[in-house]
């Protein structure tokens, strides 16, 4: 007796990895994202040409040229201090944005929202304490790395022509870093914050001739109060980062225009 057999359904076509890759990359969307010559279009082989293309077709081309001086790669030449300062600035921006979701800069009797938000952030918000700690450690570390970066640049004589102006920009960035750190110090609105801030503020009050006016403007009143908190919050999250970003752009641009990293000694 002939056995009855069901016809086998045709097997669905399973594309090979190569086919998948071709389908993903060979379309207008992919090609609009990756520039001609990008290693994500043509693939990457470890050749001089592809190394150059990898640097060129990359947003980091804003920061780095295709080739750099070999001596600058040595860890003990830069200790990565400038790069780490910039990385910390980005990390502080990211963690800072997270913290902004949970913080209102409001103080004053019966409306102590800032302090209440800080309590909630450290106890209730998921990862709140972790992100706050990271922001705070990052800020201390950034003051430290920027300071050391300045020392490193000095000892290499890297402020000498043609880099004089970039040194001046760097000093301004050091000042901005200190201001960013100091402005953030007030925001928790606890005793440590207020009184550390008060000591700093009293120094600003010693400005010759205009001492009183300077403190009035910086405090938003004759003493530290809710207006001070709001004022330094806006400085901390908006004004100072904005100015810093502009000076950073000039700083990085001038590094390349002045011939890349200084030296060799």
């Amino acid at each position: 007796m002939a056995r009855f057999r069901l016809p086998t359904p045709p097997r669905p076509h399973v594309p090979s990895p190569d086919e998948m890759k071709k389908r993903t990359q060979d379309n207008v969307v992919w090609k609009s994202i990756f520039r001609p010559g990008s290693i994500y279009r043509k693939g990457y082989r470890d050749t001089s040409r592809d190394r150059a293309l990898a640097a060129m077709n990359n947003v980091l081309y804003h920061l780095h040229p295709v080739k750099v001086k070999r001596h600058g790669l040595k860890l003990t030449y830069t200790y990565c201090l400038g790069g780490l300062s910039f990385f910390l600035f980005i990390l502080l921006t990211v963690t800072g944005i997270f913290l902004m979701f949970f913080y209102r800069p409001v103080a004053g009797a019966s409306t102590e929202l800032a302090y209440a938000d800080m309590q909630a952030l450290t106890r209730v918000v998921t990862f709140g304490d972790f992100v706050r700690n990271m922001h705070r450690w990052g800020a201390h570390l950034m003051v430290f790395t920027v300071f050391l970066h300045m020392a490193r640049v000095f000892y290499h004589g890297a402020y000498k022509p043609p880099r004089e102006f970039n040194w001046v920009v760097g000093v301004i960035l050091l000042l901005l870093t200190l201001l960013l750190a100091f402005s953030g110090y007030l925001l928790p609105w606890d005793q440590l914050a207020m009184w550390a801030f008060a000591v700093g503020m009293s120094m600003a009050g010693f400005t010759p001739v205009f001492g009183q006016q300077v403190s009035f403007v910086l405090q938003g009143g004759v003493e530290i109060g809710p207006e001070t908190l709001l004022r330094w919050y806006v400085l901390h999250v908006l004004a100072l980062p904005f100015i810093t970003t502009i000076f950073l752009a000039v700083h990085f641009w001038r590094i390349r225009k002045d011939g890349g990293i200084s030296g060799p000694l």
């Binding site: 295709v66 300045m150 000892y155 606890d190 120094m203 010759p208 200084s262 000694l265």
Partner: protein
């Protein structure tokens, strides 16, 4: 005009024999061919001399009206090194010259750009600007020992970034920053200390008048002093052995501010009075 000009092989060989480069020899040989052709056609070649023109003084009128061949080839404002008086033309003369040149083109004095642009008109080179050598950016590319940014620099940077993130992650897991009581302007904690990066200045306040310690030293010595370093230090060398003064001064400044900060941080207690941290405990908060 555009067709390929044949080289004068004899001139070419001569120039090569003289040791000229191939490029120059080729150009000169072509020029020789052109010159020979022009001479055969009865045209005058070579720089014009003062005696060529009917009247030497108004060279303008001469080149425009007197020599149609030159005018036809030359537009209005070509440079002519051999006409020495061009600069001294009066406006009337200049106008006359322009009119004559345009008339020679055969369009009745009206400048007709569309007609003259390509139709059989010879293009001439015009002098647009004189550029002093200082106006050009001099780029001197030196042969340097360089490596590719990818993978050498970007790889190293990525590792540094990971190490930094790892360090911060570990630190952030510690309960390092407990929140204190609510800010209260009526209760002054003892000691009241600034953030650590200003403790060097707070320490200076113990020794100097506030105007000196709070404004003059950080503002004038610190910021302005630092900013003017590149303009005060005229020593071009970057080698440490040639910069003893600069390095000594900066080291003095850095060590001094570091020591002030350390003293202010760890050796100052209640009332900002001196304490020994291993006896009286630490009065330092980040």
């Amino acid at each position: 005009m555009a067709e390929d000009v044949q080289m004068d092989q004899k001139v070419y060989d001569e120039l090569i024999a003289q040791g000229k480069s191939e490029r120059i020899a080729r150009a000169k040989a072509k020029a020789a061919t052109v010159r020979a052709k022009k001479e055969a056609a009865g045209e005058k070649v070579g720089p014009r001399e003062a005696g060529d023109t009917p009247a030497a003084a108004p060279a303008a009128a001469a080149s425009a009206g007197g020599a149609p061949a030159a005018a036809a080839g030359g537009g209005v404002a070509t440079t002519d090194r051999s006409a020495p008086v061009t600069g001294g033309m009066s406006p009337e003369e200049r106008q006359k010259r322009v009119a004559a040149a345009l008339a020679a083109r055969g369009n009745g004095g009206a400048p007709a750009a569309t007609e003259t642009k390509y139709a059989g008109q010879a293009h001439t080179h015009r002098l647009l600007a004189m550029v002093p050598p200082t106006g050009i950016q001099q780029i001197r590319a030196k042969q340097e020992d360089k490596v590719y940014t990818w993978p050498h620099l970007l790889g190293a940077e990525f590792i540094a970034l990971l190490a930094c993130t790892a360090l911060l992650t570990i630190l952030s897991l510690l309960p390092a920053f407990p929140l204190r009581e609510l800010a209260n302007p009526n209760i002054t904690p003892n000691p009241s200390k600034a953030p650590w990066y200003f403790l060097g200045l707070q320490e200076l306040l113990r020794y100097f008048h506030p105007m000196i310690a709070g404004v003059t030293i950080p503002g004038i010595v610190g910021l302005l002093g630092l900013m003017t370093i590149p303009f005060l230090d005229k020593n071009p060398s970057v080698r440490p052995e040639n910069r003893k003064t600069a390095i000594t001064l900066m080291t003095f400044f850095l060590v001094g501010s570091g020591m002030m900060t350390m003293v202010g941080s760890f050796f100052r207690g209640p009332g900002f009075n001196w304490v020994w941290p291993w006896i009286d405990g630490l009065f330092f908060e980040l």
